[in-house]
């Protein structure tokens, strides 16, 4: 009943693991797949290894967390090993299981179209889709949202990658812009197969009043969790009217009601991140279970019928 397609790729259910959460090793991503996710998005990685920021990298706030992990990753060469071990449907020589309709999406970042292209060209046969992270709110200067806040830069990055890979490409956008429509249309025009909205919000800051300093080592970081959901819903709702390509909704999902809301707003699939902190990995099977019940109650026969229902 939850079976669906995203950019032509079959998925067992619409729940994906969001980038940067439990996505550092194949073992932890396989655990998330076993826990019921239809697919996983990896931690964002680039050409070179990156240590990220020192701790504290995470601070809890009302309604979620702010984080400045700082895109830590071992770099594409070493990360290929992890990618090859993910138990997705099209198994590689190394991955153990053939998981029908489970997918792996590689989240990549860089500072130039060439760098994105370089990374993308190395991994095409190890994953089912690529997600371009041009939206991290606390990345180094020239990375992340520095690209995703500019329509021309967005076009160039998407275009460079699309010209060279055969797997579908999602472009992940930042909410921290004045006109997201312009950026999304740019990505679509450059050939993006789908849009993921939203990356974490802000950035924000939390000062510990007893310590008298900002908690995060980086001082500021992206806000995620239930608090950002209304903003994500609004972006999905608006973009659904403007775009011809599918939308993957992300931001604050904790319950099946949240998933329904995202589907109704116009997302074809959703990603879940921060709420794992509250609900544990059971969140995926719980939501799937409740989603089926909801669909039966309301008479929906497929996820497709629910996408954009609120319009």
């Amino acid at each position: 009943m939850l079976n669906m397609e995203l950019c032509g790729i079959k998925l067992e259910n619409p729940l994906l693991l969001a980038a940067g959460i439990l996505g550092t090793t194949a073992a932890s991503m396989n655990r998330v797949l076993d826990a019921g996710a239809g697919g996983v998005v990896t931690k964002s990685f680039s050409k070179e290894p990156n240590k990220g920021y020192n701790n504290p990298t995470i601070a809890e706030v009302e309604g979620g967390i702010i984080n400045a992990v700082g895109l830590s990753s071992p770099g594409v060469e070493l990360f290929k090993e992890e990618l090859s071990l993910i138990n997705r449907e099209r198994k590689t020589e190394k991955s153990g299981k053939n998981n029908p309709n489970k997918i792996a999406i590689a989240s990549i970042y860089g500072s130039t179209p060439d760098e994105f292209n370089y990374v993308a060209s190395k991994i095409g046969d190890l994953i089912d889709m690529i997600e371009l992270n041009i939206s991290c709110p606390h990345a180094m200067v020239g990375y992340g949202s520095a690209i995703g806040q500019c329509p021309d830069n967005t076009f160039d990055v998407v275009n460079a990658v699309k010209n060279n890979v055969s797997v579908p490409v999602l472009t992940k956008l930042t909410p921290n812009v004045t006109d997201i429509k312009e950026i999304a249309l740019s990505a679509q025009e450059a050939g993006s197969d789908g849009i993921t909205v939203i990356n974490s919000l802000g950035p924000g800051m939390k000062i510990d009043i007893n310590a008298g300093v900002p908690i995060l080592k980086n001082k500021f970081g992206g806000l995620s969790g239930p608090a950002i959901k209304p903003i994500a819903i609004k972006y999905v709702y608006d973009l659904y009217e403007d775009l011809d390509i599918p939308i993957v909704g992300v931001g604050g999902i904790r319950t099946f009601e949240d998933v329904v809301e995202f589907l109704y707003a116009g997302s074809s699939a959703v990603q879940i991140g921060t709420a794992i902190m509250y609900e544990g990995l059971e969140i995926f099977s719980q939501i799937n279970h409740n989603l089926i019940k909801f669909m039966e109650d309301k008479g929906f026969k497929s996820i497709d019928e629910m996408v954009g229902y609120a319009h």
Partner: protein, 268 residues
């Protein structure tokens, strides 16, 4: 919010060895969560160059409402902790992770170096439940033996071993343990120390059919189970949530145990 810092004054500092100090804090057991032996805290040092790292709870004093962490000076962060004075403040969040389970009557606790830290609070707890406890305290050299006196005061049998023979048995914790097992019987073991040592102990305890609980360390960022930094191969368990204590049966499934770990960038 569960993960909020408590900013606490250092109430006392105990100099345990040349490289190891124990820091004592007031801890409102009613209000703050009572830690269990084996759990850890995230310690945020915002004095100077800010950083935050995991430390096991080595002392849980319910009567006096105090906790302690025991820190070995091995790098920048721990060196900065060692330079702090009584009255200086640290941020503490936790307790995190699972804990040792008291499921035996004749217990052997085996620790190497600062690995004695989580064992200390457990041994104290086991003695208060009137269990028989033997402790193997191992270190490279005599002046690094940790908590020997504390353990003796608790009335447990202490068996020291030093690699260089400057105190007690000359040799590794593994040899000391093999020796002990010839004459004594145990129905449970808890182990913490360098992973290479724990691997050796694991093999010995398996040969002797003694169920063990092992305290593992992995690089940590969030400690709340979302960043993925501390996950182990091939199970994907998070050391900060499903660990840091793993049973013998679990250890068998952790293929990287005793073989490798990842650094802050995720590189093996």
């Amino acid at each position: 919010m569960k993960n909020e810092y408590k900013i606490l004054e250092i109430k006392d500092i105990i100099i345990n060895t040349q490289t190891i100090k124990t820091f004592i804090f007031d801890w409102k057991m009613e209000k703050d969560e009572i830690p269990n032996p084996g759990q850890f805290m995230m310690i945020w040092n915002f004095n100077g160059e800010s950083d935050e790292k995991p430390m096991s709870v080595s002392k849980i004093d319910l009567d006096n409402e105090e906790i302690g962490i025991t820190v070995k000076n091995i790098g920048e962060f721990t060196n900065n902790l060692h330079s702090l004075k009584i009255g200086d403040e640290l941020g503490i969040r936790g307790p995190y992770g699972n804990h040792f389970k008291l499921n035996g009557d004749n217990i052997i606790a085996i620790g190497g170096g600062v690995g004695m830290a989580p064992l200390r609070s457990f041994v104290e707890h086991a003695k208060s439940e009137n269990k028989n406890v033997d402790v193997v305290v191992a270190s490279v050299t005599q002046c690094e033996l940790l908590f020997e006196e504390d353990f003796k005061k608790l009335g447990v049998n202490v068996f020291t071993s030093t690699d260089d023979g400057t105190c007690g048995y000359k040799g590794f914790a593994t040899h000391r343990t093999i020796d002990l097992l010839k004459s004594r019987n145990y129905d449970m073991a808890i182990v913490c120390g360098p992973e290479i040592m724990m691997k050796g102990i694991f093999n010995i305890l398996e040969d002797n059919n003694i169920p063990g609980q092992y305290s593992m360390e992995r690089y940590m960022k969030c400690a709340i189970g979302i960043c993925g930094q501390c996950c182990v191969d091939n199970t994907g368990w998070r050391v900060c949530i499903e660990g840091p204590i793993f049973s013998s049966e679990e250890i068998k499934q952790i293929t990287e145990f005793g073989n490798y770990h990842r650094n802050g960038a995720g590189i093996k």
